[in-house]
């Protein structure tokens, strides 16, 4: 599942003012890579992640995901892509309140058309993978931040996507919980999944094999680590 961005721009129209959130990004990510995106605040990291995660479309340029031009997909096709190919983890968890952990994890399978019994069985299994099977009947507000993020990761994994994207997944967590979360990502990467995450913390970026530095909507540097 390869990712290929070429000359991607994103322009926001704020009143009369145009904001060039992305000014022309060309980036290629191969299957199985673990990539961290870093850069100062407002440099366009989240904008880039949203485009990569098919939550948003580029203003100009091309995004080939798995050989498919994303710009030509309609809203429903984008939704299907998000559902099946990509797991997204947010900084603020974005779990649905008033729903149990298990139901939250099972939610993407509702939209994938998986049957209820199978859904719950699979959700339980994935929760066990992040070590939270004992919390499956709790509501999100009864969990710690680190636990919530692990639930969110379980939810991202549940449809077995090949790409996991995370926008500052450890931004709201202490160092210990952050390390737990990063260990899960490493584990997922070793299973062959592509991981792309945005972070401000060099310690977190250490987990990645490649770091892309963004500034003012452009790629400033692109470093591979030799392990």
């Amino acid at each position: 599942m390869s990712i290929l961005l070429s000359e991607v721009t994103k322009v926001y129209q704020l009143g009369g003012e145009r904001v060039n959130a992305l000014a022309g990004i060309t980036l290629s990510i191969s299957p199985g890579e673990f990539t961290a995106i870093m850069g100062p605040s407002g440099s366009g990291k989240s904008t880039l992640m949203n485009i990569l995660g098919c939550l948003d479309r580029p203003t100009t340029g091309s995004y080939m995901l798995d050989g498919q031009e994303v710009a030509t997909l309609n809203d429903d096709q984008l939704a299907i892509t998000r559902n099946k190919k990509i797991g997204f983890v947010f900084q603020s968890f974005n779990l649905l309140p008033r729903m149990s952990t298990l139901q939250n994890v099972a939610l993407p399978m509702v939209y994938a058309g998986v049957e209820k019994k199978e859904r719950l069985a699979r959700a339980e299994q994935v929760l066990a993978m992040v070590g939270l099977e004992s919390r499956m009947n709790h509501q999100p507000n009864e969990l710690s931040g680190g636990q919530r993020q692990r639930v969110a990761i379980a939810r991202a994994l549940v449809n077995d996507p090949t790409i996991i994207m995370a926008d500052e997944p450890t931004g709201n967590l202490d160092t210990k919980s952050g390390d737990e979360v990063m260990n899960i990502f490493s584990e997922l990467n070793s299973q062959g999944r592509t991981i792309i995450l945005v972070t401000h913390e060099p310690d977190i970026a250490e987990y990645a094999g490649r770091v892309v530095y963004v500034r003012d909507g452009l790629i400033e540097r692109d470093e591979w680590k030799v392990r």
Binding site: L55, D56, F88, N94, L96, L107, G113
Partner: protein
């Protein structure tokens, strides 16, 4: 996918039970009001129709005295402008007539043994049977011969028979009307209420007996005419007017000194009025249903705004346009359909309540039930679709960013 949308929608409603119930109340009251109002309207219509029909079919009634502009008679029955010859002339000279029965009526005390009862005594001819649809339950009606011989015979209405004889058989007994003895020859079948009041509270005796032996009058108080059909009744009405004007030697500028009332026309007018009342009630109640619908839309819009972030999350996880659309549309329809079902129960209950407490006749119309229910489903769809579309069209990024 549909069953999933239903369970998601139900969960959404459960999260805000009180709000959902209050919104539902608008629909419950609307549907209930439509059904109750239509039931009352139909009840009035039905009652008016049966009471007019109870007077007899294709009936024309000629009474002395002019009618005023409003159609009601002045000094009804008090003038003496009609006599038996007028009735005879109508019988002989006008086409399209089945039966003619001149009549006089006055209230007297009727006595049998130690029982007494005050009722209206009608003096008329046997033709009244056919005109008023009187059926004999026991004995027989008096004959034209009885009229000519001024026989002292009487036919009792059911109410009178029950009150004087307490279940005993009246046939062959002698009762006293204003102290004069009368032999009972027949009892009528019960007819119930009509526009003129209780039709069974009456005693019928031969016309001439009443005029000469009881009341001491030579004029008659009304002429009951049965036309051969509704198609000729208006013509018969005109012909009677022309005939009586000629007989009474009225000049072109003198108003009629009699009134011909056409029961078909009165029935049609009453029917029109009651139909109008029914539709008016239904429309007013329908408006409350519309207000209930606006309540649904209002709450759904609030709900969509409140749950923008939830919608963003669902979309980010792969919910498509239809998933979100159905989720909110089903919420609206669940509110309106549940409200509709409860409203039907309320409407039927209210109809029974009104008829037992206020004593009004109500007719529960299955058409009104079906229509009110269909309308409530439609309202759920109509007022739910805009908020649901608004939710389904939200941009995932913007929705996720919503605070």
């Amino acid at each position: 996918m549909f069953s999933e949308s239903i369970s998601i929608a139900l969960a959404g409603l459960k999260a805000n039970k009180l709000r959902a119930m209050l919104t539902m109340l608008g629909i419950i009251i609307g549907v209930g009001a439509v059904i109750a109002m239509v039931s009352i309207g139909m009840g009035v219509k039905d009652k008016v129709a049966t009471s007019i029909a109870g007077l007899g079919s294709n009936l024309l009634v000629v009474t002395p005295g002019a009618s005023n502009a409003g159609g009601s008679r002045q000094a009804a029955g008090s003038s003496i402008t009609l006599n038996e010859k007028d009735a005879l002339a109508i019988t002989q000279e006008i086409a399209g007539i089945n039966l003619v029965a001149p009549a006089v009526t006055r209230s007297y005390q009727v006595v049998f043994g130690n029982q007494n009862w005050t009722t209206s005594i009608q003096g008329t001819t046997p033709d009244i049977q056919g005109i008023r649809d009187y059926n004999i339950e026991e004995g027989s009606f008096f004959t034209n011969q009885d009229v000519e011989t001024r026989a002292r015979v009487a036919v009792l209405g059911k109410t009178v028979a029950e009150n004087l004889f307490n279940g005993g058989t009246p046939i062959g007994q002698t009762i006293r009307i204003n102290n004069a003895p009368f032999r009972v020859v027949g009892v009528l079948e019960a007819k119930g209420e009509s526009a003129g009041g209780n039709q069974d509270d009456t005693v019928i005796i031969p016309l001439k007996t009443a005029q000469e032996r009881l009341m001491g009058i030579t004029y008659i108080q009304n002429i009951n005419v049965q036309a051969t059909g509704t198609d000729v009744i208006y013509q018969v009405q005109d012909d009677i007017t022309t005939l009586l004007r000629a007989r009474h030697k009225l000049t072109a500028t003198t108003p009629d000194d009699f009134t011909v009332r056409n029961m078909v026309a009165i029935m049609a007018a009453a029917d029109e009025t009651t139909s109008m009342i029914t539709s008016l009630l239904a429309v007013v109640a329908g408006l409350s249903l519309l207000v209930g619908g606006i309540g649904i839309m209002n709450i759904m819009l609030v709900s969509v705004t409140e749950r923008t972030r939830e919608i963003g999350i669902r979309k980010a996880l792969g919910a498509r346009y239809q998933n979100i659309l159905l989720q909110f549309l089903i919420e609206a329809i669940v509110i309106s359909v549940t409200g509709g079902v409860l409203g039907i129960a309320l409407g039927i209950g209210a109809s029974y309540g009104i008829s037992s407490i206020a004593g009004w006749k109500t007719v529960i119309s299955s058409l009104a039930i079906v229509a009110a229910f269909a309308f409530s489903v439609f309202i759920g769809l109509f007022f739910g679709i805009y908020p649901a579309r608004k939710a389904a069209l939200l941009d995932p990024i913007e929705a996720l960013r919503y605070e």
